[in-house]
Amino acid sequence: MDALPDDVLMARVQTGDGTAFEHLLERHLPAIHAYAYRLTRSHTDADDLAQETFLRLWQKASSYRPGTVRLTTWLHRVAHNTFVDTWRKREDTLPLDDEGDMPATPAESRDDARMQAVQRGLMQLPLNQRTAVSLCLLGRFSAEEAGQIMGMSTDAVESLIARARRTLRTLLADGREHT
């Protein structure tokens, strides 16, 4: 069943096939959890958001229309909407989890230090910019798909990415001047 395309597995999930659900979970959880973490900036909340996303996949599988959108886009949209409905209300009160994807050990090379600086910078970007970067530059979605997920136009997504790039680029340039 591992080799079956998403749409075939989703058709089985729509008939209540738990095994098909488990395969989709294994396949898509890493991307959804990474996205959830970049939205919530907390591992605990990312776990909860990813869980809620997959439970909605199970409960609302019938609302997925194969051929209209990729399953991964649909899942990211579910995660995004769930986040907006539930988590965003307390976004300002959430502590910034500095552990994140960052290694616990100090950077050993200049490249490591640069990457850690970008990771920290990414997590401090405004939510929409962080989301657009996460989808398009780290998640390999097109700006059009990111727009479908975020509920905004392609132009708006491209504009968010441009602003995020500028912030991160400036951050890197500043870091270089201080070393």
Binding site: E26, Q51, D111, M115, A162, R166, L168
Partner: protein
């Protein structure tokens, strides 16, 4: 076409450091600017550093045990629907009786909602029955 440093910087933010991926109309002008302007080169280098750092992001690690937790929650959700129905059914003595009456109620409702039989057809059926009776089809063979 010539690009100012500001325009170059704006395009760099929008399209990234790979000049080959830029719109064809701006590509050559961007290359010329990079060759002649040290500030443009510095901006391009910073953009390349950023893209390299983004490309080198480590793979995200999912919390161990999360797959198991999600599957367990889904299974518990499925079970809880059945459990809650059974609990509802057995918590009061009148509820099983109500469930037993459901077919009767359904049958009555269907009978009420079904349109009345066509009376002309009913008379035809009666005539046919009478004819068959006259011809002895329905006579009692045990008398013979």
């Amino acid at each position: 076409m010539n690009l100012s440093l500001h325009e170059f910087s704006t395009l760099l933010d929008r399209h990234g450091s790979n000049l080959d991926a830029w719109p064809a109309s701006a590509r050559e002008a961007a290359r010329r600017l990079v060759e002649t302007d040290a500030r443009a080169r510095r901006e391009l280098d910073a953009a390349r550093e950023l893209d390299a750092a983004l490309a080198a992001f480590p793979a995200h690690v999912v919390t161990p045990g999360l797959v198991t937790r999600i599957n367990a929650t889904r299974n518990a959700g499925n079970a809880s629907i059945l459990d809650s129905f059974l609990q509802w059914l057995t918590s009061n003595v009148w509820r099983p009786a109500l469930l037993g009456l459901a077919p009767l109620v359904l049958g009555t409702a269907l009978g009420t909602l079904t349109p009345a039989a066509d009376t002309d057809n009913a008379w035809v059926a009666l005539d046919a029955s009478a004819l068959l009776l006259d011809n002895g089809y329905w006579s009692d063979d045990s008398d013979e």
